[in-house]
Symmetry: C2
Subunit: 360 residues, 2 copies
Amino acid sequence: MTFPLAPGAMIGILGGGQLGRMLSLAAARLGFDVTILTPEANAPAGRVSARTLQADYEDPAALDEMARTCAVVTFEFENVPAAAVAHLMKKGVAVAPAAQALAVSQDRLEEKRFANAAGIATVAFSAVDTVADLNAALARMGAPLLLKTRRGGYDGKGQVWVRRPEDAAAAFAEIGERPAIAEAPADFRRELAIIAARGRSGEIALYPLTESHHENGILRRTTAPARGADKALPEAERMAVSLLTALDYVGVMGIELFERDDGKLLLNEFAPRVHNTGHWTLDGCEVDQFEQHIRAVCGWPLGPTRASRGVEMINLLGEEVRAWPRYAAEPETRVWLYGKSEARPGRKMGHVNRMMRPES
Amino acid sequence: MTFPLAPGAMIGILGGGQLGRMLSLAAARLGFDVTILTPEANAPAGRVSARTLQADYEDPAALDEMARTCAVVTFEFENVPAAAVAHLMKKGVAVAPAAQALAVSQDRLEEKRFANAAGIATVAFSAVDTVADLNAALARMGAPLLLKTRRGGYDGKGQVWVRRPEDAAAAFAEIGERPAIAEAPADFRRELAIIAARGRSGEIALYPLTESHHENGILRRTTAPARGADKALPEAERMAVSLLTALDYVGVMGIELFERDDGKLLLNEFAPRVHNTGHWTLDGCEVDQFEQHIRAVCGWPLGPTRASRGVEMINLLGEEVRAWPRYAAEPETRVWLYGKSEARPGRKMGHVNRMMRPES
């Protein structure tokens, strides 16, 4: 494959949700076609793409067809089976981000080990494969600890607080006695996030630091740029650059950080893909995170990342999407809906970007 | 049909070119699905839409299927067969803009008569059905005159200058002896354009006045907003409001104007659709003309039309699209490519929006 990839080429995306949908819209602006691979019928991304292969992610025929027709393949979620990526790579397809970033991000223990090795601070943590491991972690780090499965789970699923040593066995049972990581509390005063991009020639572009507001493990709001973050910015940027460089990363990455009372930053986690904390860029930046990702994986030069205005991004979860008429009537609000028919509780149905007045 | 139309509904678009493509991208942002009807295989708009019906515009089965599945139908070009719209309306589909706007805009003679009746100035003109009519027009208005077929033709096709009375017969032959209109020269110093929108409740939103730069009848560049147009603005806005109101219009309309040396404005023509002179809004306004059109035809409130920055829009014609790497590398330039494979001379392959610095 020769980069930069010329318009007219087909880009493959593993995953058919809203991130794939917004990636596909960005690819279309730049003249690319998109093929979506998803097991889901009538997927949000498929309905705005040239082609949808409805199959399991490890389906050999679907992967072969993708390899035959796509110049580059990327993904919209980090739990893509490693076997699928290996299959594509064996067929000579350029997959970006590459397998190492996926492997590291799929395993919460490997993720923290990798970060620490790259000089990036995290909470204290310990591997937990047995109740005895968990007891040892409690003895060393004290309670409470946050017990998380090493793999799977998102939006707060697959994790449980261990508040007292005597709860260890029950907590380990609750996460299915799967390989896990026990984390010390972050004791953060707020959560920050930074969307980072790295191109095929190694150039890096960082969006402004933002503030995340979670409820029940799900992002509710992003304030962009984060206020009062001048001190945190250089360290956040250093962490992002270290992470992208250590992974020889290509594409957009969402990086979530804890800011502690003493101002110290810790890496919470990173996602090797476009990220909900970057949805504000759709209306706050000239080149949004989706176009930036397409540019990166296609070997195009990265675009500008400056915030042209302040934005408050608000997720519409479940039935909240029914408020669309109110948001549509607000002159300062841009509406993004994902084309999902069933508004299950907590499901991300859309988001709105509220432009802040320059003086605010 | 109940308006405002709820997200999840299917919008039908007649036509599969770049305007349909950008309408479809805008519809997707708002959570709508799109069905494209086009006779063309692998049409630019079809590749970003949920469904494509590849058939002639008057194909009864395709129109019936559109009527059965689409909550509202709109179009991306003004030469939609009247029979197709009549067929859809008979089946109870909401078609917007409505049949009258199409009928008036399809006939250059009717267009000018309608404009004059609505108090909007145009060049002097005369109906030409025979060479005798053309000779009479030359006797009354003098030479030169611009002879245009009443129907069909775009981007400068289907028209010829009659520079001397003795050329009348040859000129009429050149346009195929079809029903025509003879127009006096506009003697303009520049061409202006205004993108106007009217919603289902009658509210009107006007984008800033822009300056158009044509070559060989094809738009090359738009400067937005137009410079030194403070005096022209009120009259341009009055003309736009008169036209939209007289047509009881729903949707976005592209209105092209002549500005004469004495500052007087004349209507050149209008297109009952999104328009090339409005492509700058994609990067210069919070709500672009494509989203505005979707909002209007779906009965949503109209969005803001203020220019958030100045933009120079440059069309990429034919082989010019090969300059995409240069434009992609300019931080201040946004690239829009239409997914057309064959770069025929003069064919609109894409455009770029160059952001102007605030001080320029």
